[in-house]
């Protein structure tokens, strides 16, 4: 959400396949690790943060738990 004139809001909905059960939702947890493999491998050795590696940090925004 960007406050201003005009105000900009972005809303993301996850639409899983119908075959997904509760366990398959853990794919959302596994996805960042798999997709970050290239960036992590290219990073210099040592303790690095997401910012150092060039990856997106924690999601910022408003999390809506209700279905809209």
């Amino acid at each position: 959400m960007i406050k201003g004139e005009p105000e900009v809001q972005t809303r993301i909905r996850f639409i899983p396949p119908e075959t997904w059960g509760n366990h398959e939702w853990d794919t959302m947890t596994a996805m960042p690790a798999v997709n970050a493999a290239f960036d992590v491998a290219a990073a210099p050795a040592g303790i690095r943060t997401l910012h150092d590696v060039g990856l997106a940090s924690a999601p910022a925004g408003v999390w809506l738990n209700k279905a809209v």
Binding site: E24, T27, T29, A30, A33, V34, A42, P44, G54
Partner: protein
């Protein structure tokens, strides 16, 4: 000019064009001796040429997609060798993600129990047989990534593609650090 020389010149020019497109200063190839430059793009041009029929114009959003396609192609050519560490609740799903990603190559799986040792990775994550068996031998898993030359080649290619995306330049890890 005979056919062989004409073909060689065409490949040379296309390599130069690709290097300028992604902003690389030079293209290197690794032989048995070491890294050798095979082409040197024109000096003095710090920004890649963006005008032309082969690439979108500067300032166009299509340029991001163009750079992403280049990055994808480079990653396809330089597959990342990946070891999956444990195959629990989330590890099983990330193993599926590795198997489904054409840019990644599953070379080893660490099983956190003796029961999983020797079991195929495909069996552990509910996919067809992969030929990669889980093991509890950590040293053997680390030895799978001993192809340091291939890793360095992949890192250089990755940096080249990152430059195409406008990502800031990063330093390569030291050779001794593997």
């Amino acid at each position: 000019m005979d056919t062989i020389r004409r073909t060689h010149r065409r490949r040379h020019l296309s390599a130069v064009r690709a290097a300028r497109l992604v902003g690389a200063r030079s293209i290197h190839r690794h032989n048995d001796i070491g890294w050798i430059p095979i082409v040197q793009p024109r000096r003095g041009r710090r920004r890649p040429r963006t005008t032309g029929a082969s690439s979108p114009a500067r300032g166009s959003f299509a340029r991001f997609a163009h750079a992403a396609r280049i990055r994808w192609d480079v990653q396809l050519m330089n597959k990342l060798r990946v070891i999956q560490w444990t195959t629990g609740k989330v590890g099983t799903l990330s193993t599926r993600g590795i198997l489904d990603d054409p840019r990644l190559e599953l070379v080893g799986v660490y099983g956190n129990s003796d029961e999983k040792a020797g079991t195929d990775a495909g069996t552990l994550c509910g996919r067809p047989q992969t030929g990669v068996q889980a093991t509890t031998d950590i040293d053997a898993l680390i030895a799978l990534l001993a192809d340091r030359r291939a890793v360095e080649r992949r890192l250089v290619s990755h940096q080249t593609s990152q430059r195409a995306l406008g990502v800031r330049r990063r330093s390569l890890p030291c050779r001794d650090q593997g």
